[in-house]
């Protein structure tokens, strides 16, 4: 069944969109990631204009994070104070990101920027995760048990001023690192159309030293507001949020996520992470090839010039 998307102004198969949403949903349920970093490139591949893909994906992430965070509210694994500080940074970053996005859109370099961001971040995160989980698998095989818990890094992060107490996380640290993490993730959210969980979760664990059990809930809490803000900015400045596209992806995504969670409980954590890492690297490789190999069509058309 073909469906005409009112804002993207293209006609696509509704089942393809539901399927894509479902597929990414299964993966995000399995691995506990938002899936925006996979969905946005997939939308590029099926011919949705990049600007619409990025803005609409932000809208979809709001909704999927909202249904995710409800479970964490019930378990009281959301650090509202930390979330608030991250949020202040995130909103600043998102505003900066949209300004950069619109400036580069005028120059005709926005596709390049989005794709470069993807290649760099997917490459780094995928590579690190791959090495780390391979090591974990090797260790668990040789030692036959869990790896010993490492001491948290207590370096420069704890030497900064403006200290705040975060009760839920059991931390007493400066507000500056969470702010910087927030700004950074906000910029990524606006430019790449992702929630930024795949950057924020490692940053919260390794840089801020937050306990793992509050990390996911807190990042979801922050992501809801930052992506909602991004959606509003794109909707009011670029008119590129396609609500029909978002709803189709979302319905597929939520159902897929439930199935993915079931599969995820049956697999080992290290195996899951190797799989996720390989998938991230595959998407990264495809995007990198697009940049490195000579494209079949050197010319591209844009309508934003002139006005």
């Amino acid at each position: 069944m073909q469906i005409y998307l009112p804002i993207a102004e293209v006609s696509v198969n509704a089942f393809l969109l539901l399927g894509l949403g479902g597929l990414v949903g299964v993966l995000s349920g399995m691995f506990g990631v938002g899936g925006g970093f996979l969905m946005t490139p997939l939308l590029f591949f099926i011919g949705i204009p990049p600007a619409v893909a990025v803005a609409t994906e932000a809208n979809q992430i709001v909704a999927s994070s909202f249904s995710g965070v409800l479970a964490h509210f019930r378990r009281r694994t959301v650090d509202f104070k930390m979330g608030g500080v991250l949020l202040v940074g995130g909103l600043t970053g998102a505003a900066l990101g949209v300004v950069v996005f619109n400036y580069l859109k005028g120059l005709g370099q926005v596709d390049l920027l989005v794709k470069l961001c993807y290649v760099v971040f997917l490459g780094v995160v995928g590579g690190l995760m791959f090495i780390e989980s391979l090591n974990a698998i090797r260790k668990s095989r040789s030692a036959g048990g869990a790896a010993p818990a490492k001491r948290r890094q207590r370096g420069w992060v704890h030497a900064l001023p403006l200290k705040m107490r975060f009760r839920t996380s059991g931390l007493y640290i400066s507000a500056i690192p969470p702010l910087i993490v927030g700004v950074f993730v906000g910029i990524l959210s606006a430019i790449m159309g992702v929630g930024g969980g795949f950057i924020m979760v490692p940053a919260m664990i390794y840089i801020l030293g937050m306990p793992t059990k509050v990390v996911v809930g807190t990042s979801l809490f922050q992501i809801i507001f930052v992506t909602a803000f991004t959606t509003m900015l794109h909707a009011t400045t670029n008119y590129t949020v396609d609500v029909v596209l978002a709803v189709l992806l979302l319905v597929g995504g939520v159902i897929g996520a439930q199935i993915g969670t079931q599969i995820g409980t049956k697999l080992k954590a290290e195996q899951l992470r190797v799989l996720l890492a390989m998938m991230v690297l595959a998407v990264c490789g495809k995007l990198a090839l697009d940049l490195l190999l000579q494209p079949a069509e050197l010319f591209s058309l844009g309508t934003d010039g002139g006005h």
């Binding site: 005409y4 006609s11 979809q60 909707a235 939520v254 050197l298 058309l301 934003d304």
Partner: protein
């Protein structure tokens, strides 16, 4: 009284003298409604040639039909290899290019229309694109206009369909114009040219109205006129749909 009647007679006969062969046109539809399940449209263009005198013995009658979507400036960018990756480097603003352009003819194009007539009436695809203000430091500006044609032909937006207009007894003609699903809104100008020996002997123009309707219309207008409300609505719908789908799934699983 007599003078008035004479004037009226003159006025009435004037158009007939200007064109001895006149076009009477029919369209299967003069509106295309873009609904949410819009998947392209076929428009039947048919008509007859009305003439007072017998059919001239000269060259056979040929018919050219063009349908042209709204024209807009197009920014064309060209990639080049810089620092090992392919980057947009040059750009040319093509002043005006139709979003959709179809030419249907009753014989090979160069037989139905001479080059001079093509230049005068701007019928062929390259003539439909206007590009004057190329940047001074770009020599091959023509490549950019050709790129517009190549890319839009590949998307099915531009097409030259020779020998697709059927002409019966030099009087009746018909063709079907296929419009793809990726249409934008606007008045699609439809021109019909009658030619003999490559020269235009008569022409006729009308509009096909392509509009989003219903939900598509509502969402598009809202997103342009009330972007804040549209954004808030998108968020609310998305949150509700996400929450609803997960709640529905939980209920299903707990049965």
């Amino acid at each position: 009284m007599w003078r008035a009647l004479l004037v009226l007679l003159c006025v009435a006969t004037l158009p007939a003298q200007a064109a001895e062969e006149e076009i009477v046109l029919g369209l299967s539809q003069d509106r295309v409604a873009i609904t949410s399940t819009f998947d392209g449209s076929d428009i039947l263009v048919f008509g007859a040639v009305k003439r007072e005198a017998p059919i001239p013995d000269a060259e056979p009658l040929e018919v050219v039909i063009t349908v042209s979507g709204p024209s807009k400036p197009v920014m064309v960018r060209r990639k080049e290899k810089k620092f090992g990756i392919w980057v947009n480097v040059d750009s040319v603003l093509v002043d005006s290019a139709p979003s959709f352009y179809a030419v249907a003819t009753s014989a090979p194009f160069n037989e139905v229309l001479t080059n001079t007539e093509d230049l005068r009436y701007k019928v062929s695809i390259p003539q439909a694109i206007r590009s004057v203000g190329a940047d001074m430091n770009i020599q091959d500006a023509q490549d950019f206009a050709q790129a517009v044609i190549r890319i839009r032909e590949a998307e099915g937006l531009y097409s030259l369909r020779e020998d697709t207009v059927a002409v019966d007894q030099q009087t009746l003609f018909r063709t079907s114009i296929k419009m793809p699903a990726n249409l934008i809104e606007g008045d699609y100008k439809t021109h019909i040219y009658l030619t003999r020996g490559g020269n235009v002997v008569s022409q006729f123009a009308t509009d096909i109205d392509v509009r989003k309707v219903g939900l598509e219309r509502f969402l598009f207008n809202l997103s342009r006129q009330q972007p804040v409300i549209y954004g808030l609505m998108s968020l609310a719908i998305a949150i509700f749909a996400g929450w609803g789908a997960s709640a529905a799934f939980t209920v299903l699983r707990n049965r």
